[in-house]
């Protein structure tokens, strides 16, 4: 796509260069940005087709599709950045339906003046996450907005996957008696962002848990446990996700506060900022609703996987016409774990 002989092309200045409006204009500058920055890093046979859309082989099964916009601030945070977050987040949305994620599409909205070095770092991170997950970015789009009309970079990713007939995970399948399992310690992503944003120097750095969960989910399926629903508790945290499932299924839930896995650093940071880890976003955790008889087997399968080592049984489902999610507190009392009211932390993912 590059014009002329190599000697006539002035390469992108990835050290000091910045995004300008021509990079989104559809002309030569945009072609160069795509070639030298995006395609070189994300490169795969589908992307190299160079057409307006990717032509893809489809394994048998039903198609699963999801899309997610990422506007996290700051763009770089301990444990990750907007690039790997955009890849892992969409893979997880596809995977929690039990699907095998296959392909990703990525749309970038860049702000004029954004350093190309930062953009390269973000795309490198996307490529790393996509490679590690085995889910290529097969098509994409780039737009540039004027200075002040954006905040550096926003990334929208769309993922597709396939799921075989028969075994559907769905938020409306929780039944009284089922058990609730979380795949690990909660609240790390949100608190990593918060600590970075507020420049709070906690003694121990809190690192985002961003990770692609389809491997863990495959291991969970292989255990043969009767899984009713899976969901990744991102914005609004565990509390909000469980309320969604309770409402969808028309049931109530009872959690045990003492069973909730929370890293001490996260617990301390939440205490300090007056936040509740149950409402803080995760980017590499999932909640599973499972038949009571299979809970132990599922827990064992999860703990055998690197992303599920600290999986824990945190509560159970029961009949409740009000669909309350409640919790027995560590003190021994009872309280509601309500929907998140208002916005706890804006632009968390």
């Amino acid at each position: 796509m590059s014009a002329g002989r190599p000697g006539y092309v002035r390469p992108l200045d990835l050290k000091r260069g910045v995004v300008d409006l021509t990079h989104g204009s559809g002309g030569r500058a945009m072609a160069q940005l795509i070639d030298e920055l995006f395609a070189r890093r994300l490169g795969n046979a589908y992307l190299r087709q160079g057409n307006d859309a990717a032509l893809l082989p489809m394994p048998p099964g039903r198609l699963v599709m999801s899309t997610d916009g990422h506007v996290v601030s700051p763009l770089f945070f301990p444990g990750g950045d907007i690039g790997c977050l955009a890849v892992n987040g969409t893979i997880n949305d596809v995977a929690v339906l039990g699907a095998t994620p296959l392909y990703l599409a990525a749309g970038f909205i860049l702000e004029e003046g954004f350093p190309l070095a930062d953009l390269a770092r973000i795309v490198d991170s996307m490529a790393g996450a996509a490679n590690a997950a085995g889910v290529p970015v097969v098509t994409g789009d780039t737009k540039v907005v004027e200075r002040g009309a954006g905040d550096g970079v926003y990334i929208t990713t769309t993922g597709v996957g396939v799921v075989a007939d028969g075994d559907d995970f769905s938020g409306d399948r929780a039944r009284p008696g089922d058990r609730i399992i979380v795949s690990g310690t909660i609240g790390e992503h949100g608190m990593a962002i918060m600590a970075q944003r507020e420049s709070i120097g906690f003694a121990a750095q809190i690192v985002s848990d961003t990770a692609a969960l389809h491997g863990l989910i495959a291991a969970m399926r292989a255990s043969g446990a009767a899984i009713r629903a899976l969901r990744d508790p991102t914005r609004g945290g565990v509390a909000t996700t469980l309320n969604e499932i309770a409402r969808q299924s028309g049931v109530g839930m009872m959690l045990q506060e003492s069973a909730l896995p929370v890293q001490p650093e996260v617990a301390a940071a939440c205490e300090f900022l007056g936040l509740d880890p149950l409402y803080v976003a995760n980017e590499g955790k999932l909640l599973a609703i499972v038949a009571a008889a299979d809970a132990d087997a599922l827990l064992a399968a999860m703990r055998a996987h690197p992303l599920g080592q600290r999986a824990a049984l945190i509560g159970s489902v029961h009949a409740d016409p009000h669909h309350f999610v409640q919790m027995t507190t560590a003190l021994g009392g009872r309280r509601i774990v309500d929907w998140l009211a208002g916005e706890q932390l804006p632009r968390i993912c």
Binding site: L331, I336, A341, G342
Partner: protein, 385 residues
């Protein structure tokens, strides 16, 4: 978490609960008011009431600074930004309190940011010190800090004003809405429901934790002596609250009315003298101040002394308080006086929710209505058999 989990320990709680059950007599009820929103929050969040026998009843008090701010005070803050064109800096919670004309600071903030070229703006911050820093960074803008709170937050505001004076800042001032705990307690005790009609029974107070680190326990001795009501100063952790309840029950059983200090790890009889001096230096008593729910209370709030008039936003921008009636269906006033429980308000949970608060008690997480809605409303649900 070290030094925190110990105060939320389930084993200790069940031991204390047993002691409370044993101490509470079968032939009478106990009605205790927890003054502070911090206590209200802890009681709801940890489910303390579930561990208490039915004959021990907790009544929520008015000690939530956001809840007791009358509409007219929020209006003043909005007018400072929209009419006087200042940068008004506020903590997060007051932003959502409903004001006149369907506004709130949050809605006014959005309206101001849409109006390009409009002078005023409203910002949320975590500390008054951030407002002072903003004034230093932007010398061309008038920055006003919306100072609310009881005695705990008053010394930091005094310090800000002193710092602003030392720096010679001409663009920093404070909208002072600091209020005084003892006045609110006196108002509750003098209310007809408690004193004359006896419709609100009060057998004692769980006294403020953080406020008392500043003012000490001495100011409560008047209530114990004059009104014969026991007061136990308690920390904000759930075990603190339970211990205080046990101490109150024992006093009531013995016919005593003393000021006791459960929060001895932080509170002394005299309090923080240095902070008190600082407050005296910068502030003086207001002759009268309007509280939501409690009405106009004499000498119940602070204003900035004349020596620091340059830093008093009320003087600098000539904004005056205008009384505004609460929403006719809102029972925040009765809730703040302990006359009604949140769930006894007709609009609780239907019209008035944390997402769309009608009254101030539904706004802050320390408000009685918000605490009950967010943590305790399962207890009101009638579950079909």
């Amino acid at each position: 978490m070290k030094f925190i989990d110990e105060f939320r320990d389930g084993k200790l709680a069940s031991g204390l609960a047993a002691a409370i059950r044993q101490a509470a007599r079968d032939d009478r009820d106990y009605h205790f008011m927890e003054f502070c929103g911090g206590h209200t929050h802890a009681i709801a969040r940890y489910g303390v009431s579930d561990l208490l026998p039915r004959r021990v009843r907790l009544i929520h008090g008015p000690g939530c600074p956001v809840c007791v701010l009358p509409i007219g005070r929020i209006d003043m803050a909005i007018r400072l930004a929209s009419e006087s064109g200042v940068t008004l800096c506020s903590y997060g919670d007051p932003l959502r309190v409903p004001a006149s004309g369907g506004l709130s600071l949050l809605k006014a903030k959005a309206a101001l940011s849409r109006k390009s070229g409009a002078g005023g703006e409203i910002r949320m911050l975590y500390s008054g010190a951030d407002a002072l820093a903003l004034a230093q960074q932007q010398p061309a803008r008038q920055v006003v800090f919306f100072a609310i709170g009881f005695e705990t937050t008053t010394p930091p505001t005094a310090l800000l004003i002193k710092q602003a004076q030392a720096l010679g800042l001409k663009n920093f001032s404070v909208l002072c809405c600091h209020v005084l705990t003892p006045s609110a307690i006196a108002s509750i005790l003098e209310s007809p429901e408690v004193r004359r009609w006896g419709t609100v029974r009060l057998d004692g107070f769980i006294g403020p934790a953080h406020v008392s680190t500043i003012i000490g326990t001495r100011p409560y001795e008047f209530f114990a002596g004059e009104y014969r009501k026991p007061v136990v100063i308690a920390g904000f952790e759930p075990l603190d609250v339970m211990q205080a309840i046990l101490m109150l029950i024992k006093q009531v059983n013995a016919g005593q009315a003393l000021v006791e200090n459960e929060f001895s790890r932080a509170v002394t009889r005299d309090g923080n003298r240095k902070a008190q001096q600082l407050v005296c230096e910068v502030f003086e008593l207001r002759r009268s101040f309007a509280w939501r729910g409690l009405g106009e209370l004499p000498y119940s709030a602070l204003k900035i002394r004349r020596e620091f008039a340059d830093f008093d936003a009320e003087r600098r921008f000539a904004v005056a308080y205008q009384a505004v009636d609460d929403h006719p269906a809102c029972e925040c006033g009765a809730v703040l006086r302990g006359v009604k429980r949140p769930q006894e308000c007709r609009i609780f949970g239907s019209v008035c929710t944390p997402e769309n608060p009608v009254g101030s008690c539904m706004v802050s997480s320390e408000g009685a209505c918000a605490a009950h809605y967010s943590f305790g409303r399962f207890a009101d649900a009638v579950v079909a058999p």
